[in-house]
C-alpha cells in the first residue's frame, strides 16, 4: 500500500495504477483515482462497456472519488479480490470498497458491481459519474430513469445503476452522476447491475450488502485453502488470487490477461488481445496451481484444454477462446489506444501459427496431472499418445516460436527443446497412463531432437544455447532448458546459458526476451516472466541465495496491490503490456516454489 495522489497523462492513468476485481466471469480494472476504466460484459472476452483504458475520450468509465483533491491508499481486503481504496482529503477520509459480487443471497443480477462508500473521519464530498459506452466505445446510450434506477441499454445489453445515500443523480445525455457528502460513520452505496439477453434485475440494498459480505467470505475461504509456507507468501497468494480472477468459471479456461492492446512499448504497435487461453501456459499453470493445492482449478483447466483441443486434434492451436472455441479472428478497432498506442486489436491472429513448443507444454501438463492424481481417462490417454506421435513428424519444421514472432519461421531452439519434452513426457506417461505402442518411435525421435539441439543450437563461442539453429543470439526462453529437464539445471550448458542471457539481455533484475528481429516494428520493455524464470533457473542450479536476492528485487516491482503486467520499462519502471498478466504471476509462483524446494 502506498500513499500518493493519483495522476493521469492526457487522460490515461499509468498501467501500474490499476487494480483488478472479478467474479470468475469478467474483470474490472480500477485506477487509483477511483475510475473503473475497463469492464467487458457479460464476460471477460465480451465487448467493453467501460473502455477508457483504450480511449480516454470515447471509451466510457465509472468514476467514484472525492470531488476535490485527495491522497490515496489501496489494498485488497486480506485474502480477497475485493478492493479497498481510502481517499484522504483536507476535510476527512472515506473508504470505497469495490467488488464484483458472486451470486448468492436473493435474486442476483446477471453481473453486479458494487461500490460502497464509508466515512472514516470528517465530512468528505464525493462525486460519481457513470459514463457507459457499449461495444468498445461505439455506442453512447441514452440513459433513462426507471423505478429506482438509471438504465442504459443497447441491443441485448442493459446496465442499471442503483444508488443509496449517494446523492440525487442527474442525467446529462449519455452520462449520469451525482455528488454527496459522507460523514464519519456514514455510508453510501452505488451498484451497477447488468443484464444480457434478459430483463435487468434491480437489487435491493440489503441483498447487495449480504452478497458483498458473502463474496469476501468466499475469497477468504478460498485463499485459506491454498497451501504455501515459503517466503514471499503474500506475493504468492496474491498471484494465486490473480490466477483465480483470470479463470473463466463457466469453462475452467484461464485467460492470459484481463485486457487487450495495452502496449508493449509506449505509443507502439505491439498491442495484442490477451483475453484468450494459451496452450503455452498450460504446464506453468498446472505446476503453479498444484503447488498451491489448487487441484480443482488445475484439473478443470486441463479438462478444458483437452476438450478445446479436441476440435483441432491432433494438432493444437496456439490459443483458444475462453469457451473453448477456435474463432479468434484478429481485427482493429477505431479507438485512440492507450496513450495513443494504435492499433487497438481484438481477436488474436497468433491462434493458427505453428508453434511447436505447445506440444511439450500440453504433455508436461498431462504428466503433472497424472503425478498428482495417478490416472488419466482412456480417451484422453489415447489422444495424448496421438499428439506425441504427431510431434515426431512435426519437429523438423521451422516455426514461429514461443514468442509468436511475425517474421519468417525458424528452427527455434526452445521449440525443439519442448518437442523433446513432449516425447520425454509421453514415454513417462506410457508407463501407466497412455498407450505406449509408439514408444520406440518417440524414444528414437527424442534422441534425434536432443542431438539436433546439442549440435546445432549450441554456441561454443558464447558457451550458451542460442535462439535458433545457426543463430548467434540468445533468448530468455532458454532459461527453461534446465527447468524443463532438457539439460542438467546445474550443468555446464545450463549455467553457460544463464550467464550468456544475463550478459546480453539483462537490465538490472530485468530481462528482455531477445534482441533480434521479430518481424514487428518498434521496441518493447523487459519481459517480467523471464526474470522469474531466471530465479527458477538459479534456484534449480543450486544458487539459492542469488535466486532469493533476485526474487526480493522482483517482488518489490509489483504495484501497490501486488499486481504485475506483462512487461516493465527498465529505465522508468513503468508497467507495459496487458494487465494483470497471468504468465507473470504464474512465473512468480513457480519461482518462489523452486526456491522453497531448493532451500528445503
Amino acid at each position: 500500500m502506498t500513499d500518493s495522489s493519483p495522476r493521469r497523462a492526457d487522460g490515461y492513468a499509468p498501467i501500474r495504477d490499476y487494480a483488478a476485481i472479478g467474479d470468475g466471469r469478467t474483470v474490472a480494472l480500477i485506477a487509483r483515482d477511483g475510475s473503473i476504466d475497463w469492464l467487458c460484459l457479460p464476460n471477460l472476452d465480451s465487448p467493453s462497456v467501460f473502455g477508457a483504458l483504450l480511449d480516454a475520450r470515447r471509451g466510457g468509465r465509472f468514476v467514484l472519488a472525492p470531488a476535490g483533491p485527495s491522497r490515496v491508499e489501496r489494498r485488497y481486503v486480506p485474502g480477497t479480490n475485493v478492493l479497498e481504496t481510502t481517499f484522504r482529503t483536507s476535510d476527512g477520509a472515506a473508504r470505497v470498497t469495490d467488488a464484483l459480487t458472486l451470486p448468492g443471497a436473493g435474486l442476483p443480477p446477471l453481473r453486479e458491481l458494487v461500490r460502497r462508500v464509508e466515512g472514516i473521519s470528517g465530512d468528505v464530498r464525493m462525486a460519481w459519474r457513470f459514463e457507459p459506452r457499449f461495444g468498445y466505445g461505439r455506442v453512447a446510450p441514452r440513459i433513462a430513469r426507471r423505478q429506482r434506477a438509471l438504465i442504459a441499454t443497447s441491443g441485448g445489453e442493459a446496465l442499471a445503476v442503483s444508488s443509496w445515500d449517494a446523492g440525487d443523480p442527474r442525467i446529462e445525455g449519455a452520462a449520469a452522476g451525482a455528488e454527496f457528502t459522507v460523514s464519519e460513520g456514514g455510508s453510501a452505496m452505488i451498484v451497477l447491475a447488468t443484464a444480457t439477453q434478459e430483463p435487468v434485475v434491480l437489487p435491493g440494498r440489503a441483498a447487495v450488502e449480504r452478497r458483498l459480505a458473502d463474496t469476501i467470505e468466499f475469497w477468504q475461504g478460498w485463499t485459506g485453502k491454498r497451501r504455501y509456507e515459503g517466503a514471499w507468501s503474500e506475493a504468492v497468494l496474491r498471484s494465486a488470487l490473480v490466477l483465480k480472477l483470470l479463470a473463466y468459471a463457466p469453462s475452467g479456461a484461464i485467460a492470459a490477461a484481463a485486457t487487450t492492446s495495452l502496449p508493449e512499448h509506449p505509443g507502439g504497435q505491439r498491442n495484442w488481445d490477451y483475453r484468450f487461453s494459451w496452450v503455452r501456459d498450460a504446464a506453468f499453470t498446472l505446476a503453479a496451481l498444484l503447488s498451491l493445492d489448487s487441484d480443482e482449478e488445475a484439473t478443470t483447466f486441463l479438462w478444458w484444454l483437452l476438450q478445446a483441443s479436441q476440435r483441432t486434434h491432433p494438432r493444437l492451436d496456439v490459443l483458444y477462446r475462453l469457451d473453448g472455441g477456435t474463432g479468434t479472428r484478429e481485427r482493429e478497432l477505431e479507438l485512440e489506444g492507450y496513450g495513443g498506442a494504435r492499433p487497438v486489436r481484438i481477436g488474436n491472429g497468433a491462434a493458427s501459427q505453428l508453434q511447436l513448443g505447445i506440444y511439450g507444454e500440453l504433455l508436461e501438463a498431462a504428466l503433472l496431472h497424472v503425478s498428482a492424481h495417478g490416472r488419466l481417462d482412456r480417451d484422453s490417454g489415447r489422444r495424448i499418445a496421438e499428439i506425441a506421435t504427431l510431434v515426431c513428424s512435426l519437429w523438423r519444421q521451422p516455426d514461429l516460436g514461443i514468442w509468436e514472432v511475425r517474421s519468417d519461421p525458424r528452427h527455434f531452439t526452445h521449440s525443439k527443446m519442448l518437442c523433446w519434452v513432449a516425447l520425454d513426457r509421453a514415454l513417462r506417461l506410457a508407463q501407466n497412463a497412455i498407450p505406449g505402442t509408439r514408444a520406440p518411435l518417440w524414444r528414437h525421435t527424442a534422441d534425434q531432437i536432443r542431438d539436433f539441439v546439442e549440435h546445432r543450437c549450441w554456441s561454443e563461442e558464447k558457451r550458451s544455447y542460442v535462439r535458433a539453429q545457426g543463430s548467434n543470439e540468445v533468448d530468455a526462453s532458454l532459461l527453461l532448458s534446465g527447468v524443463v529437464g532438457f539439460t542438467d539445471p546445474g550443468g555446464r550448458r545450463a549455467l553457460g546459458t544463464i550467464a550468456a542471457i544475463r550478459r546480453e539481455l539483462a537490465h538490472g533484475p530485468l530481462l528482455h526476451r531477445y534482441r533480434g528481429d521479430d518481424g514487428l516494428p518498434g521496441d518493447e520493455g523487459a519481459f517480467l516472466a523471464c526474470s522469474f524464470w531466471l530465479v527458477d533457473a538459479l534456484a534449480r542450479a543450486g544458487r539459492v541465495d542469488e535466486a532469493a536476492e533476485l526474487m526480493d528485487e522482483l517482488v518489490s516491482l509489483g504495484n501497490d496491490v501486488g499486481l504485475y503486467s506483462e512487461e516493465i520499462d527498465p529505465s522508468s519502471g513503468a508497467f507495459l503490456g496487458n494487465m494483470p498478466q497471468g504468465l507473470t504471476h504464474l512465473a512468480l509462483v513457480n519461482a518462489a516454489v523452486s526456491i522453497s524446494r531448493a532451500a528445503a
Binding site: P103, G106, L107, P108, P109, R146, Q147, R148, I151, T153, G155, G156, E157, A158, A160, W164, A195, T196, Q197, E198, P199, V200, V201, L202, P203, G204, R205, A206, A207
Partner: protein, 160 residues
C-alpha cells in the same frame, strides 16, 4: 373442430414461438425472456426460475390453443390466416395489458410504480408492449405470436 388437433397445434406453436423469441435475443434484437419472468415469480434461484418458467410457458402455450379452438368453434371456421390474425391480437393484448399491467401487479419480484426502498431485488418491468426490453421487442413479439396463431389455425383447419 378437433380439440386434439388444436392441442397438437398448440404444442408445435409453443416450440416455434419459444425458438423465435430465443433467436431474437441471440440476435440482440430484444432482452425479453418470458420463462425468466414467469419463473422468478416462484423462486429466486436463477437456473431454477428458468426451468420453472419454461415449464409454465409450455403448459400455457398448449392451454392457449384451447382458447383458440373455442374461438374458431364459435366462428364455425378455422384457417391459418385467421389464426395469424388471432395471434397478432394475442400478441397485442399480451404486450399492452398482460405484461404491462397485470404481471407487474402480481409478480412478487417485479418493479412497479408502488415499489419502495424496502423492497428486495426487483426485475425491470416490461413496460408498454415490452418496450423496456428493447425497441424491437413489440415487433419480435407480434411476429412470434402471429406464427403461433397461424400454426394452431392450420392444425385445426387441416383436421377439419
Amino acid at each position: 373442430m378437433n380439440l386434439l388437433a388444436a392441442l397438437a397445434g398448440g404444442f408445435v406453436g409453443t416450440l416455434v414461438i419459444t425458438t423465435l423469441l430465443q433467436l431474437a435475443t441471440e440476435l440482440r434484437l430484444t432482452r425479453v425472456d418470458i420463462p425468466f419472468l414467469l419463473g422468478t415469480a416462484f423462486t429466486e434461484e436463477r437456473d431454477e426460475a428458468k426451468a420453472v418458467g419454461y415449464a409454465i410457458y409450455a403448459l400455457a402455450g398448449v392451454a392457449f390453443s384451447v382458447v383458440y379452438w373455442a374461438v374458431f368453434s364459435a366462428l364455425g371456421q378455422a384457417s391459418w390466416w385467421l389464426g395469424l390474425l388471432f395471434g397478432l391480437l394475442h400478441g397485442l393484448f399480451l404486450g399492452a395489458v398482460v405484461m404491462n399491467i397485470l404481471l407487474p401487479a402480481v409478480h412478487p419480484r417485479m418493479g412497479s410504480s408502488s415499489s419502495a426502498a424496502n423492497d428486495g431485488s426487483l426485475i425491470e418491468p416490461p413496460g408498454f408492449m415490452m418496450l423496456n426490453y428493447g425497441a424491437q421487442t413489440p415487433a419480435v413479439s407480434l411476429v412470434a405470436h402471429a406464427a403461433y396463431g397461424a400454426i394452431v389455425g392450420w392444425f385445426i383447419a387441416a383436421a377439419g
